[in-house]
């Protein structure tokens, strides 16, 4: 009697969980879960952890657009909803495990992602994935793993690859922001 009651009370919860799990996996979308890599910061000689969420993009919307580069950046970020970067440089090889990379690649094997580039060399793996949504480019993931360096770039939203690749030239135009990292 008691067991029956327990089964009855748990049954809706179990059904709800079963119904939610596949939807959750499918709804993961173009944003990757990279938190498991945070522990690598302790071993890294240099860490770059950038999170640009929709709120940050909206706050940065003040870019005047008068300057040529400002206009380029404005056009580039127009379709972007988020930029998430984790990059680690180590003094010695073997600081990160194969499992660290596989956890990311497993997410990139989910429906919606398609691998466009894969270069595998000795101790090196470079891959580019695109997230397609309704036949349109809706996100990007770049995985670059070298013996002493690991970089993962995840962009959510529409990305203009050519414009993004040209962004390196804009580095001297970074605005002077005092105490930016404080």
């Amino acid at each position: 009697m008691n067991t029956n009651f327990k089964t009855k009370s748990w049954l809706p919860l179990l059904l709800a969980l079963l119904a939610l799990t596949p939807r959750d996996l499918a709804a993961q979308g173009p944003k990757l879960q990279l938190d498991h890599l945070n522990r690598l910061a302790d071993a890294a000689s240099e860490t770059v952890d950038v999170t640009v969420d929709p709120a940050t993009l909206q706050t940065a919307g003040f870019l005047s657009g008068h300057d040529v580069n400002d206009a380029k950046i404005k056009a580039l970020i127009e379709g972007i909803k988020g930029i998430y970067i984790k990059s680690f440089e180590f003094t010695a090889a073997g600081a990160y495990s194969e499992q660290d990379i596989e956890t990311v690649r497993k997410q990139l094997a989910a429906p919606g992602w398609s691998r466009m580039v894969s270069v595998r060399e000795k101790d090196e793996l470079t891959e580019i994935y695109f997230w397609r949504e309704g036949g349109q480019n809706g996100g990007l993931a770049v995985l670059s793993a070298e013996s002493k360096e690991l970089t993962i770039v995840n962009i959510v939203g529409r990305v203009d690859l050519a414009a993004l690749t040209a962004m390196g030239k804009l580095m001297p135009k970074l605005p002077r922001v005092p105490n930016i990292l404080k």
Partner: protein, 113 residues
Amino acid sequence: MNLDHELRQALKPQDPPAGFAEEVLRRATITGQAPTTPLHSRRSRWFALPIAASLLAAAFGWHHYVQRQRQTDAERATYEVILALHIAGETLADVQKKVQDKLRNQNEHQLQN
């Protein structure tokens, strides 16, 4: 002659009516008296002025602080966005170079064979 007489009568000095001086003095006393405002009202008037000034200064300071904070946030966000775009672009450029190098090596290898 008649006119001269009438003028004399009209301009002849006359004594004031009885009680005139007392009435003048009474009225002068009433006009010179200070307004009868209650003491607590006068005090609150003296307190209200600095309080209003302080509130105004505080409101102005707060507005300035919020504006400044908003500007700093916007500058920081812009910096982060540009930094993120730069790193992403640089990583992509590296990948592009690697792919090009690999293709070149493959072509050279094929030509040698």
